[in-house]
């Protein structure tokens, strides 16, 4: 299923208008963050602070370019993953003990401190003015201007395809089920001898890494990193998109992210003065009438097809 979508995107992309390709690249990159947050949400944990890992990835790229002169796109993307993962592996040691709103709020507090730090150390980070990120190279080549966006798009798409298929495996693996299990009943996981903290810690680090990866890809596309990446409203947006798309299936965050970016851009376009109203109304409708996210519509549809006996879905 996911491969069909990836293939479709890959074929269609170069035919789309230029700004759409860019929008898709950014949406795909952000989908990685959302996917990470979605994994945590499967475990019943909602982070209102993943903006800090997103920022870690973005600033990681900016610093790697500025201080070390690294310009290779794939290397930078991996660096973003590492930056997010590293920060998460430190903070995760504190956070893995917390649940529910405490987990959410503590993440928020920490991310606001990261935001404050990015702002405070302005002589290093440029403060709110942010840091510029130059064009990356692909295998040593700088793509010609006309192909640059498409190159970035394929980079994002490739990374997303790999991550999504890995995530798809993960959610069906013992660890993936343990995550759902501990969301349902942590006490029972303990009484089976399962290590709740360790599982949460691992998934947390993974989600931090994914957020960093997303941040690095976004900043490569956008070309500028600002402290707002770590601001709570950015984190809130990721959680929103995870719910919007639905985190029950790995394709939920992906489709949610793409749709969200398009809807937002559309809202900006048709009502530059009241786009928040449009966005808010849409969010409210989804929460009230589709609490499992948009992807649940697709799943329901597919379930109906299954019943009629002409399923095209691989057995799962």
């Amino acid at each position: 299923m996911q491969w069909a979508i990836v293939l479709l995107l890959a074929i269609v992309a170069p035919l789309l208008p230029g700004w759409t390709v860019f929008l898709l690249s950014v949406a795909l990159a952000k989908a990685l963050v959302v996917l990470g947050i979605g994994l945590l949400m499967r475990g019943g944990l909602v982070s209102f602070g993943h903006g800090m890992y997103y920022a870690a990835g973005a600033y990681g790229v900016a610093f790697a370019m500025k201080l070390m002169g690294i310009r290779e796109a794939l290397v930078l993307a991996v660096l973003g993953l590492v930056a997010g993962g590293l920060l998460a592996s430190v903070l995760g040691m504190l956070l893995a003990r917390y649940r529910g709103l405490f987990f959410a709020m503590l993440n928020l507090a920490l991310s606001m401190m990261v935001y404050g730090a990015l702002l405070k150390f302005y002589w290093v980070t440029g403060g709110t003015d942010g840091m510029a990120v130059r064009q990356a190279t692909f295998g040593g080549f700088v793509p010609p201007a006309g192909l640059l966006r498409v190159a970035y798009f394929y980079l994002s798409l490739g990374v997303v395809a790999i991550v999504v298929s890995m995530a798809h495996r993960l959610v069906r693996s013992p660890m993936g089920y343990l995550l759902r299990a501990l969301r349902d009943n942590e006490v029972r996981v303990n009484y089976m001898g399962g290590w709740v903290e360790q599982t949460i810690y691992r998934v947390y680090v993974l989600s931090g890494g994914l957020a960093g990866l997303g941040g690095s890809l976004v900043v490569l596309n956008v070309g500028h990193a600002v402290p707002d990446f770590a601001y709570w409203s950015q984190s809130g947006e990721f959680v929103f998109v995870a719910l919007f798309g639905g985190y029950g299936h790995v394709l939920g965050p992906l489709s949610g992210s793409i749709l969200f970016e398009f809807v937002r851009s559309y809202a900006y376009k048709v009502s530059p003065y009241t786009w928040q109203l449009l966005l808010g109304a849409m969010l409210a409708l989804v929460i009230l009438f589709l609490p499992e996210g948009l992807w649940s519509l697709v799943e329901r549809r597919m379930a109906r097809r299954d019943r009629w006996g002409w399923s095209w879905r691989p057995s799962s």
Binding site: Y98, M105, L106, Y273
Partner: protein, 298 residues
């Protein structure tokens, strides 16, 4: 000496404001288990309606003393109309869902109200500071201080006291307490839980609007005033313990005094002070200063 006095007074002002902003938030969380992002919008609505009503009154030649009553009236108007509306139309539908989902719904409400306010009041700034100026100044340690924030302190203490007494002394308060203790059992015992929810949400909305209405004379009311309030309110409530009134009071005092001290002693810390307190408190006492750690019965 002067510095200490100034820190103390500044801390008190800051704490009073924070308490006004967080009291309703913690109350709503305590009863409904909803972390209400739209709290900020109710605050902004209070500020907008309060200042525009005072403005009209002043233009019609009413004296400044009336304006305090008008601010109170505006807060009640916002709280009593918008509060039940939001609760009945939106929140009621999804109480049984996860806390986060409800939180995001209130976020959606917040987004919509941002633009609704823009449509109603435009983007022009409202500065209606007659009520602020009229109270004059007092001297603290030889330094002039505005007297208005003492009014804020008074209101904060009164509201805190009223809510506390209301919970402890009135029949409604006791019903609310029973719902907080155990929703299912209260419902089984015949408590009209939905009504309690509407009531508590409305009280919380009034408190939010009150905070906005009485802050309005101090500030320029512009789009976006709602945003700052939300995070500060959340931080205070998290520090004090979600759902705890005493906690909100102590959290406000802690943050207020730290902010005031940081302005006088380490201005660089101003921005991060509140998050620093929040992170430290949550690390050592995750349930907040007055929160109760809940153990699951097995």
């Amino acid at each position: 000496m002067t510095q200490l006095a100034l820190i103390a007074v500044g801390g008190l002002f800051s704490a009073s404001w924070l308490f006004l902003v967080s009291l309703g938030l913690t109350l709503i969380y305590g009863v409904l288990r909803v972390l209400n992002v739209a709290h900020g919008s109710l605050y902004a609505l209070g500020a907008y309606l309060g200042s525009s009503m005072v403005l009209v009154a002043l233009e019609k030649g009413h004296g400044v003393p009336v304006s305090y009553l008008i601010l109170l009236g505006a807060a009640l108007l916002v709280g009593l109309s918008v509060g039940p509306f939001l609760e009945r139309v939106f929140l009621r539908r999804i109480y049984q869902k996860e806390e986060v989902l409800v939180l995001l719904l209130t976020f959606a409400i917040f987004l919509m109200l941002e633009d609704v306010m823009k449509l109603v009041w435009g983007v022009q700034p409202y500065v209606v500071n007659a009520p602020y100026v009229a109270l004059g100044v007092v001297k603290v340690g030889g330094v002039r201080q505005p007297a208005y924030p003492f009014l804020l302190t008074g209101i904060a203490v009164t509201m805190g006291g009223l809510v506390w007494a209301g919970m402890a002394r009135t029949r409604f308060g006791k019903l609310v307490t029973s719902v907080i203790e155990d929703r299912e059992i209260s419902a089984a015992l015949g408590v009209n839980v939905p009504r309690i929810f509407t009531g508590a949400f409305t009280v919380g909305a009034v408190l939010a609007a009150l905070g906005g209405a009485f802050t309005a004379p101090m500030i320029s009311v512009v789009p976006g005033v709602a945003v700052e309030v939300i995070v500060l309110g959340f931080a205070v409530v998290a520090i004090g313990g979600l759902g705890s009134i005493e906690g909100a009071a102590l959290g406000s005092l802690l943050v207020g005094f730290l902010r005031s001290a940081s302005v006088h002693l380490f201005p660089e810390l101003d921005l991060v002070a509140i998050y620093l307190v929040m992170a430290l408190v949550l690390l050592f006492r995750p349930q907040g200063l007055f929160g109760r750690a809940e153990m699951r019965r097995v």
